[in-house]
Amino acid sequence: MTRRRPLLSVVVIGLACLVGMPLYYILVNTFKTQEEMVSSPLAPPTSFYLDNYLEVFDRIPLAQSFGNTLYVTVGAVVVQLLVGATAAYGMILRATLFNRIFGALLLLAFVVPGQATLIPLYRTLVDAELVDTLNGLIFMYAGGSIFCFFLIQGYIRTLPFEIIEAARIDGAGVFQIFWRIVLPLIRPILITVGIFQTMWVWNDFILPNVFISSPEKRTIVLEVYSAVGQFTTDWPAFMTLSVIVLVPMVVFFVLTQRHIISGLLAGGVKG
């Protein structure tokens, strides 16, 4: 059970490389001139060409856009996870008919096409004086709570409820149980959902494109799309910026995904 499996490793890594080919394509072309990219798109770069990166660093206030994106992403994901986790727990605690119907209604959030709610929401934000603010974006992303709720609820249902029961009998309060027992137990799904939502918010273009208009409030993805023109897209710049946006996410993923380990195993009752 604990020994590494060499054969499976080779198969999995081989498949992973195949799946990762398009990513290789994007990465490798950021180190090429336009000429090289067109004539030999898949070959490794012939020289250590960094101009694409230098140009982008020179032209775009990356520190500021990264700061904005970080603020929005952290704020939005924390809100989503809190709202989603409390809702999922509340739904398990009180599975009354009313609540179950309400839970099913919440799923409507998945079937509404985003385009349909954009203009009404924009007007709400104008009224709340939240349009063109980073907090307004966080407010919009709070809609992702329902996704979190859905995933966390499914997970909580698989947990042995005896642990919570035991804590109740010991006289622990409702919020205490939630904070010290439930949250550690659902850590794998919290981290997974956190990863999903971080990727989404970090990379989202649709909402900032409509809701942000001041240059100093731009998120990093808006900078990526600044390379798109009416007839032609500056592909080297576009890919370079895409890679710059992606790098923090890769680091984040690699650091967090190793924590997707059993809350039961890590001593859920430790609290």
């Binding site: 020994r3 499996r5 490793s9 198969v11 999995v12 890594i13 992973a16 799946v19 990762g20 398009p22 990513l23 394509y25 798109p41 898949l42 989603g84 409390t86 809702a87 509340g90 398990i92 605690l93 009180r94 599975a95 799923l107 998945f110 079937v111 509404v112 096409p113 349909a116 709610t117 203009i119 009404p120 919009m140 709070a142 329902i146 995933l151 997970y155 698989t158 042995p160 919570i164 029961e165 109740r168 409702v174 794998p188 999903f196 990727m199 990379n203 799309y225 798109v228 897209t233 576009f238 890919m239 895409s242 996410m249 993923f253 690699v254 995904q257 380990i261 059993s262 039961l264 195993l265």
Partner: protein
């Protein structure tokens, strides 16, 4: 198998009765106060739902009864006229076939690939972090850049990446990946699966953590093979995850727009056109916001009906299995 009967009681009714039974033990007044505290947990999500979904959807429904252009608040009430227009226009259903094919195709294929992948990625492997990342990241870069990259890979010309590989290894002539109606449908679905399989594998990976190790240990002692353990422990206990994953795949599949739009622009002919594309083109592109709103309402109802029946069916299967 004995192991399966030892599974924790995950079904909704089972867990619901337990806290209530415990509540009675603390006396009726404590139970009431506790119930109120429990209900409090649902307030934030209700607020989010009402403000960000119910109210805007209500607004959209209201607009669907008007001749709103999307540019001026000067509009008139037209009753059900927009709905009549849509239902009598045959082209609105142009994208129906491919949308359904795409939703069902990606749901089935992604599930079939993601579960074994998650199980593999849950093992101790050399380079596991790298493999997890490589599988997870395909869907993250913007569709604009992925459309370009896949356009080159699947180019029907002899110089296309995939075609030159096929030519040099198997000596196959150029395959019209994107220029043949049937192959184009297949290609778009494959790219969709490519983008989603790793993401859903990570979802399953999280759910695998809730399966206690003891189950496997007991099964191994009982002499169960790896395949038996997969089919009798892992798969049944992943049912809640499958319900969720497939619901997401289905709703996203029915709403798909970006991928076929950037890869094939709905072509060749109407082969890969989707319903959302029809909505956006005929509604928003023409400044007929009233009609677009009516379409959005109809679409919401249709997707809801499909997705909820799928959810009911899979929940029923889940109960039977567990």
């Amino acid at each position: 198998m004995t192991v399966a009967t030892e599974a924790p009681p995950p079904s909704g009714s089972g867990t619901a009765t337990r806290p209530r039974a415990a509540g009675r033990r603390t006396g009726p007044s404590g139970g009431w106060r506790e119930a109120a505290a429990h209900q409090l947990f649902l307030v934030p999500v209700a607020a989010v739902f009402i403000v960000l979904f119910v109210i805007p959807l209500g607004q959209t429904f209201y607009w669907s009864l008007t001749d709103f252009t999307g540019y001026s608040d000067d509009f008139a009430f037209v009753g059900l006229e927009n709905y009549r227009t849509i239902l009598s226009d045959p082209s609105m259903t142009a994208g129906l076939t491919f949308t359904l094919l795409f939703a069902v195709g990606t749901t089935v294929l992604t599930t079939v690939i993601a579960i074994p992948l998650a199980v593999a990625l849950n093992q101790r492997l050399y380079g596991r972090n790298l493999a997890r990342s490589l599988f997870f990241f395909p869907a993250i870069p913007s569709m604009a850049v992925l459309g370009l990259v896949w356009g080159y890979i699947l180019s029907p010309l002899g110089s296309g990446v995939l075609n030159s590989v096929l030519d040099s290894t198997l000596g196959l002539g150029p395959v019209p990946w994107l220029s043949d109606s049937t192959l184009a449908k297949f290609s778009v679905i494959m790219v969709g699966v490519w983008g989603g399989a790793g993401w859903h594998a990570v979802l399953y990976l999280a759910y695998l953590q809730s399966i206690p190790h003891e189950y496997y240990e007991v099964a191994t002692i009982d002499g169960a093979s790896g395949r038996q353990r997969f089919f009798h422990i892992t798969l049944p206990l992943l049912m809640p995850a499958m319900v969720i994953s497939q619901f997401l795949l289905m709703t996203n599949g029915l709403k798909v727009f970006d991928l076929p739009y950037t890869l094939t622009n709905g072509g060749p002919g109407f082969a890969t056109q989707t319903i959302t594309q029809s909505i956006i083109v005929s509604g928003v592109g023409q400044g007929q916001y009233g009609i677009a709103s009516a379409l959005a309402v109809l679409f919401t109802i249709a997707v809801a009906a499909l997705a909820f029946s799928q959810l009911l069916i899979s929940r029923r299967i889940e109960r039977r299995v567990l």
